[in-house]
Symmetry: C2
Subunit: 350 residues, 2 copies
C-alpha cells in the first residue's frame, strides 16, 4: 500500500474473479498484484488478461505488497483461504455465500478478530438498481403501509457451471441466489423475522436444490415470498410489492415495471366484469378514475462503492456497508430454510 | 315437472340469485316458478324482473310445482334451507361455499340420502375458460412434466358486499374465492395432497380474511401456490404453470397470456446478461433459437351444462359433474387452511 492506494490479489479466476478484475481496473486507488487459481486454464486466462500469476496460494499470501486478498473460489473453500490470508496479514474480500453454514462463518469472524483484519463479503446485489428502487418506494411510503413483498429470479438454464451442482462445494440455488434475495429482503423490511417456510425444488435431479420458494413472516405481520427457479420458461416479475395505497412491480433487469397508486379508495362506480363463467366486482380492474400509473423511479448505482467502502473501513474512516452480523443472520436464515424443507415445517426464527 | 322440463325456485335474490335467473331463462327445459328473499328490496327487484315472489320460504317449498330449489343466500343459511327444501321433496342446487365447515355439509349429505334427493353445489368456476385451458395444457402434457402451478385472483376493492365482511355469515375470501381456486386445483392435479401451509391476510382490518396465500404439496412432489388478494393494485397472473418442457401463463379473464415451450434444452450460445450490479448467465432469457412462443389454446365453455347435468342426474341419466365427495374434500382442505393459519404451521392433509 502506497499512500492511499491498495494492492489486491485474486484467489480464483473463474466468472466472478474475472468480474472483480474488470471492476478493480476502473478504481484509481486499486491495483491488482496478480492471481492464483488451481486450474491451469484459468492461470492462462489471467496471463492472457495481462495479470501476473502466482504459482501457489502460499506464494500469493507471502507477497508483502498485497493488502487485500479477494476470494472468488467455490464456496466450500472460502473458509480456509480467508483464515490463511488473514493469518498472513491480509484483509479479505470474499464471495458469497461466505460459507456453507454459520459455524464456519463464526470461525472466520474469530480469525478476523484474532488477526485484526477487515473481512468483507461481496454482497454485490445490494447495488442492483431493481432492489434500490423497491427500497426507495418502501422507505418513502409511496405505497402506504406495505404488507407483502415478492422477490424472485426465474431462469430456464438449470444450475450454472460445474461445482454449483455439487453439495460438497456448496452448490445449489438457495446458497447461490437465495443469499442475495434474502440479504436484500431483510434490509428492505428491517424487522425481526417471526417464521419461515421453505420448499426446495429438485426438478433437474441434481443432488442440490435447483430453486426454492420461501414464505417469510415478519414481526409486524408483513409477509414476503422469496423464490428462485431455474426451469422457468416464463419469468414472473423480479419484484412485486403491495401496500395499502398502491403496488409496484419490476419485471426484469431492464427496469420494465410500474407503480400504481390509489387516488380514491372508494370506487362506487365499480361494475362487475364478466370473468369466465361468472361475474366479479371484487376482482374488476380499477381505471383512471381511482388509480394512477407512474413509471418506476430510476437510481444511479455504482458497485465500485463496495470496494471503496472496504478500503475506507481499513482506514477507519467508514463503517462497513455489508456488516458481518448481517451476513451471519442470512447464513442462519438459510440454515433455517434447509431445515424447513427437510422437516416440511414452519421454522420460528427470531 | 311436465315431461322433461323442470321448475326452479330461487331462494335469495342478490347478485348470484339474479345471475341464476339470467342463465335459467336461456335454458329451454328450465322454468322459474318464483323467488323468495327475506329482504323487501330484493322481493321488489324480483317483481320488477317479472318473477313471481313467494311471501315466505314455507310457501315456496309448499308449491308442488317446484322441482328444484336454488339457494343463493349468505353462506351460513345454506344448510337449514337445503335440508328443509329436501325434506319438502325438492332437489337442491346450492351456492358455494356450501357450508361453513365439513360437519354441516355432512348433515346436508345425510339429508339428501334420507330424502333421496339430488343435492348439487354450483361450482360454476369449473366452467371458466382460463381454468379449462390450463387443464387442457396439463392433460396433454404440452409443458412436459408440470412441477408447479399458481392460481390466483388479485383485486383492489376489498371484500365485496355486506355479509361477506362478517364471520357469522361465512364471510372472508378463503371461503368466497378460495373454494373455487382449490376446487379447480385438485381437479387439475388429480393427486393426494401431502400438506398445506396457509397464511390469511387481514390488511383491511375486517374480522374475516381479505385474502390468503397457500402453498400446497402434492404426493408426487408437485407444488402449487394458491392466492387471493383484495388490496392488490397490480394483479399478478390468474395462472402460471411450469413444467420440464415449458411454461404457460394466463394474465386475465380476457385470456391474455402465452405458452412457451423449449425446442432445444441445451443452449450453449447462452451469454451472460448484465443484471443490476452483476452478470448472470443462469437467469439470462432464452431466445428464438431454443424456445417457441405459442398463443393460448381457446376453449368454448357453457355454464348451462351445469344445470343440464343436474337435471340429467335427477333423471338418472348422468353422474354429477360436481361430486359431493369433491365438495367435501375442499371443505376439509379449507378447514386445514384455517388451522394452518391459526397455528402458523404446515398441516398434513392426506
Amino acid at each position: 500500500m502506497t499512500s492511499n492506494s491498495y494492492t489486491f490479489a485474486l484467489v480464483g479466476y473463474g466468472g466472478m474473479g474475472k468480474q472483480h478484475k474488470k471492476v478493480l481496473q476502473t478504481i484509481d486507488r486499486a491495483h491488482i498484484a496478480g492471481t492464483f487459481d488451481i486450474n491451469k486454464q484459468r492461470q492462462e486466462d489471467a496471463n492472457n488478461d495481462g495479470l501476473h500469476t502466482y504459482t501457489s496460494f502460499n506464494e500469493l499470501v507471502s507477497d508483502d505488497s498485497i493488502d487485500i486478498v479477494l476470494i472468488a473460489t467455490p464456496n466450500d473453500s472460502h473458509k480456509d483461504i480467508a483464515i490463511d490470508a488473514m493469518k498472513a496479514g491480509k484483509h479479505v474480500i470474499c464471495e458469497k455465500p461466505v460459507t456453507l453454514n454459520s459455524k464456519e462463518l463464526e470461525e472466520i469472524l474469530d480469525a478476523a478478530k484474532q488477526y485484526d483484519k477487515v473481512f468483507a463479503v461481496h454482497q454485490n446485489r445490494r447495488w442492483d438498481e431493481d432492489y434500490l428502487v423497491m427500497k426507495k418506494l418502501y422507505d418513502e411510503g409511496v405505497l402506504g403501509d406495505v404488507f407483502h413483498v415478492e422477490s424472485r429470479v426465474h431462469g430456464s438454464r438449470g444450475i450454472p457451471g460445474d461445482w454449483r451442482h455439487e453439495k460438497a462445494y456448496g452448490g445449489g440455488m438457495l446458497l447461490d441466489w437465495g443469499v442475495h434475495l434474502l440479504d436484500r429482503l431483510v434490509l428492505l423490511i428491517p424487522e425481526k423475522i417471526k417464521s419461515i417456510y421453505c420448499h426446495l425444488s429438485y426438478v433437474l435431479g441434481n443432488e442440490v436444490d435447483d430453486g426454492f420458494r420461501m414464505q417469510v413472516s415478519f414481526e409486524s405481520g408483513k409477509t414476503a415470498l422469496v423464490e428462485v427457479g431455474t426451469s422457468n420458461y416464463i419469468s414472473l416479475p423480479l419484484w412485486y410489492m403491495t401496500g395499502t395505497n398502491g403496488a409496484a412491480t419490476i419485471h426484469d433487469w431492464s427496469m420494465n415495471g410500474k407503480v400504481v397508486t390509489v387516488t380514491k379508495h372508494e370506487d362506487h362506480d365499480a361494475t362487475p366484469i364478466e370473468a369466465g363463467a361468472g361475474l366479479t366486482k371484487t376482482m374488476a380492474p380499477r381505471g383512471e378514475l381511482s388509480t394512477q400509473d407512474t413509471p418506476l423511479p430510476r437510481i444511479k448505482t455504482d458497485i465500485r462503492d463496495f470496494y471503496d467502502n472496504v478500503m475506507k473501513v481499513i482506514e477507519g474512516k467508514e463503517d462497513p456497508i455489508v456488516k458481518n452480523e448481517e451476513v451471519m443472520r442470512i447464513m442462519k436464515l438459510m440454515e433455517a430454510a434447509f431445515l424447513s424443507h427437510k422437516t416440511n415445517s414452519v421454522i420460528d426464527f427470531e
